[in-house]
Amino acid sequence: MSDVRLRGFGWRHAGRRAWAVRGLDLDIRHGERVLLLGPSGAGKSTLLGALAGLLPEDSGESEGTIEIDGLDPRKARDRVGIVFQDPQTQLVMARSGDDVAFGLENRGIPAADIWPRVSDVLDRVGFPYPINRPTAALSGGEAQRLALAGVLALRPGLLLLDEPTANLDPPGADLIRSAVARALDPTTTLIIVEHRVAEVLSLVDRVVVLEPGGGVRADGDPEMIFTAYGDKLAAEGVWVPGFDFPTVPSSRSTTDLLVRAEQAAVATRLAPVSIHAAAGEIVAVTGPNGAGKSTLALLLGGLLAPTSGRITAFDDKRPPHRWRAATLAARIGSVFQNPEHQFVTGRVADELALGPRRIGRSPAEITRIVDDLLQRLRLDRLAEANPYTLSGGEARRLSVATALATAPRLLVLDEPTFGQDRRTWSELADLLAALRDEGHGIIAVTHDETFVRTLADRTFPLGVPAPAPLPRRSRP
């Protein structure tokens, strides 16, 4: 229902030298569905923030005009709804229905109208639970569906989706896609930012590509855009459909066995599993949510003790979870799903030097290792940066680099390619293939089918364990 009009629009965040977006001329008419593309750093999220009226005037400098139905977006907030990446930080209330009601209360909707609107919108997005379902019990995809319902309940004329599926596994992303498709009113204007184009192509009728330096590079029908600009977009990191990766098979045979789990299990989290990995191979552990994939990664990484069964590694009589941290870091490198959990220092270079120092390398060796990794993972210009200020792709590369710094022969990675753009993805794939050929063993927990197809020498599917009987309760 809303029209968007930009004339020479630009925004520079306070304290930054470069403009996040600049020189933007764009008209989006009522009911249009637009996919907003561009390499990372082109200012897509900034533009969405500006449209949502979430950039306070004192938080930066603007130029040109940006209007929604002829109004400054800060004054048109009631016409715009926005869904962000992370479902956990969008839900406010403890019960699902209350969460949808939260926005309606804020807008002063009379109490008598709130609950009918809540159940109506929950039906529209296909939310499968009663309204008193605790929000803490929802899966990522379900929580994101609820966040979408909370926004749609306000009947926005303009709906903005900022990488709504980036934090979700494929089934979760499906939930969101289908929810948007079925819940969207034909009169609602839609703008999506998403670099996995195939995920959202069915939802849009127009593609706008932003140019990193400023302005619009291309604008038009999706088919036309991808024919004309597909290869360039793919090279810049957009997951353009039809640009697949070739398989990278192992160039050598496997050698020593590095780790072996025999009937290893963790109570309530992982059913007994027997798995092994040898030097010179990539083993992909796949399986649905709740199968215990991350738990298995922790077990094999020597970070968790099995409650039954056995884990042996590196011909050591002691199981990995009993090793001192320095021994562990020299033998097994673990890369976590969330890179930020891994950072310990305030500088990228210090972050890389930490592991080698802990295992007693000399200062000269440390300098060599750090410089080498900075080069290899294209982080050299960021050596002085704070790890927490890195972009998603940079943070992922750094987290892999920190695990490599101690030169462990076994690498255990939890969803290494999760949410990455195509460019970072292919860099990681090349790096892992090279490491394998250098004789490292790699275990990757993943639900990325492209990763499995391209890199895995063996696949180990984990099933969902039979549900444990519900604990008995003394009271109903």
């Binding site: 949502a52 979430l54 907030r77 009631d78 709804g81 926005i82 962000f84 992370d86 956990q88 930080t89 969008q90 839900l91 406010v92 209330m93 403890a94 019960r95 209350d98 009601a101 939260f102 926005g103 309606l104 209360e105 804020n106 807008r107 002063g108 909707i109 009379p110 109490a111 709130i114 809540v118 966040a147 909370g150 926004v151 306000l154 922790l298 990484g301 970070l303 968790l304 001192r324 941290a325 320095a326 562990l328 870091a329 020299a330 097994i332 673990s334 976590f336 969330n338 930020e340 959990h341 891994q342 950072f343 310990v344 930490l354 592991g355 802990r358 295992i359 927490y388 920190t402 101690t406």
Partner: protein, 267 residues
């Protein structure tokens, strides 16, 4: 580290279903006067009253006991500290542990302190155990006229608390994976703890900011008077609960004065 934040009581029990503001207010009215005196009689009487009304809150005693574990621990701590360090060693000597003389005076001061802790903390524990956080926030806004910005904001932050436990585990494991552990060195342990705590804090702040932006995007800062999807009513029984709490507290203090136990904390 799991935080159980759900009510542990039967929500239909006659006092558990009172308005959350009334329950909180009653707990405050009942316990605040107890702070004024350090005699053993007042807390003992208060504790007796509290145990008498406990069944009307529908709290399961076993669960209550588990929630009160920190209280039991602090009681044990007081016992040990007082036996070792109490300055006042008057009264009859009961027994001696080497140089430590345990007298009736020491025991009665210790007993009074422990009673005080229990008498003052128990109402709070019971009220929060029988109150849904959402209901409390609603009642604070609707019945106590607290600003929604504060009450609903705190509620949203509260929802993120269980995440902190998971986050702490992940941060600790990641540090071990990076080769960082403290071994048996207490100084290294402390440094590891504070660096993990700092990372946890940084993460929590970032999450908090994202949540605040998402809340404002849904009109939390719109300035339009909020409506209330869930009604909380403050009725006569709620007022009576407040009155009863105040009167009982007054009666206990009066009795303490009349019986000569009263020992004001100031002067």
């Amino acid at each position: 580290m799991t935080l159980s934040l759900t009510p542990i009581a039967d929500p239909t029990a006659p006092l558990a279903r009172r308005n959350p503001v009334a329950k909180t207010g009653a707990a405050l009215l009942f316990t605040l006067p107890l702070i004024s005196t350090v005699d053993p009689f007042s807390p003992a009487a208060a504790l007796a009253v509290e145990l008498l009304v406990l069944p009307f809150f529908g709290v399961r005693p076993a669960l209550l006991l588990r929630r009160a574990t920190p209280l039991l621990l602090s009681a044990a701590g007081i016992l040990v500290t007082m036996l070792l360090f109490a300055a006042d060693r008057s009264g009859d000597l009961l027994f001696a542990l080497g140089p430590i003389e345990v007298t009736t005076g020491v025991l009665s001061t210790t007993g009074a302190l422990i009673l005080r802790i229990f008498a003052i903390a128990l109402p709070g524990i019971v009220v929060f155990a029988t109150t849904d956080p959402t209901d409390l926030a609603d009642a604070l806004v609707q019945n106590a006229k607290a600003p929604a910005r504060f009450a609903i904001g705190a509620l949203a932050a509260f929802r993120l608390i269980p995440l902190l436990g998971q986050e702490w585990r992940a941060l600790s494991l990641a540090r071990r994976a990076r080769g960082v552990d403290a071994g048996r060195n207490p100084v290294a342990k402390l440094r590891l703890f504070s660096s993990t705590a700092f990372a946890l804090l940084v993460g929590a702040l970032r999450r908090g900011v994202r949540l605040a932006v998402a809340m404002d995007a849904r009109g939390f800062d719109s300035g339009i008077p909020r409506t209330h999807a869930r009604r909380q009513h403050f009725t006569t029984p709620d007022a009576l609960l407040l009155l009863a709490a105040a009167l009982t507290a007054a009666a206990i203090i009066t009795a303490s004065v009349l019986l000569g136990w009263f020992n004001p904390i100031v002067g």
